[in-house]
Symmetry: D2
Subunit: 132 residues, 4 copies
Amino acid sequence: MSVASQMLETSPAAPGYRSEDLVECIEACLACAQACTACADACLAEAMVAELRRCITSDLNCADLCQAAGGILSRQTAYMPEMTRVALTACRDACRLCADECEHHAEIHEHCRVCAEACRRCEQACERLLTL
Amino acid sequence: MSVASQMLETSPAAPGYRSEDLVECIEACLACAQACTACADACLAEAMVAELRRCITSDLNCADLCQAAGGILSRQTAYMPEMTRVALTACRDACRLCADECEHHAEIHEHCRVCAEACRRCEQACERLLTL
Amino acid sequence: MSVASQMLETSPAAPGYRSEDLVECIEACLACAQACTACADACLAEAMVAELRRCITSDLNCADLCQAAGGILSRQTAYMPEMTRVALTACRDACRLCADECEHHAEIHEHCRVCAEACRRCEQACERLLTL
Amino acid sequence: MSVASQMLETSPAAPGYRSEDLVECIEACLACAQACTACADACLAEAMVAELRRCITSDLNCADLCQAAGGILSRQTAYMPEMTRVALTACRDACRLCADECEHHAEIHEHCRVCAEACRRCEQACERLLTL
């Protein structure tokens, strides 16, 4: 059982979502934030870095919003449905935009392919919570 | 001239907004993130902390989204209008929700009054950029 | 294979540490940052919240430094050994202090026990990289 | 009076430092984090971006530690002197390393000059609190 899952099970707060859905989304947010941070760094190491400016910026921006969403979803005390929807919507949209960008380079750069996959998983996990 | 303003003036990137508007919004985001972090801490120090759970959670959540927006607005290379709108919308909405919450306690707790003002300034600065 | 591990394998940067050690530490940092964020939230939900002020503050502070370290370790392009040591040292020390605090409540609050374990794992992962 | 200063004055917590010193350091941390974020972005926009990889990485890393320190200093409830020293030490050292790096390019890139100044101010503000 993951740490995020154990934390949720041992909290006295009543979560706003089913535990499995919430843990999946928290973990998708954190994995995507890390992937985006690492993809920006890998793009910077490429010989063609000058052509990857847009991808680097997109990665850094997406990492910031995934990080924010992962934190907000980890706070289930005094649960605020509207604030959570604001964070999920922003994270879903940022992941979609970043995945679109990374997919342009996915055939050339493996790190963009892996990052795009992490973005799509996070986009879908956010979308799932938003439609519950 | 503030550091944020000097940074913008010395960057080779062509910003997506007028410098004055952009700097005002970046600074409002960072001031609000700090105010929310400090308000959560001040609420925690209050004797009636158990009644301030919702305010503390709201502060921490709003700080995360203001921080993300301040970072995203500071990146003007390979400017992505849609990503910026995603961040501004989330930050504006989080600030509105957090200001609503803090205003409930503004007459009792001065720190909630100051924090609510910082949230309203940030809400308005984001709204201004969104309507340009 | 985890996303962090795939990102490292597909990056053109030559990492400053063995991949396994680096991935283990990045994942320990991110898991600890999330556990601390969730433990602060769970403490806030407890009836005895007024007695958990120090634990909440400790959790929030430790989360900030783990998050910073996880990001810095994810950047292996233009690797800066001294900057990495600064981040690892701060993260290790913050995790030790936070684990000490959470262990005081570990028998009463399961979330503090789980969080203390995440802090100890992260403390050890940072210490391992520092002694390589 | 700045927002950070008003927040500190209206908090029931007894700060671990004189208000003026604490506010100066919090504001130096936040200004430096923003300057580093913006300098990384400005470096990315330069024609010679491939020669600025080390500066970009240094900026991103320094921003993470300044951000962490600014948050930790904003929490004065259940003040933890040792945790605060850990954060101040890391932030001071990161700012020194990043200033050293940015100063190499300060004559060519104005944004590196402004960023180096923000790093030096933050380095000194952290050092001052550490020697009190």
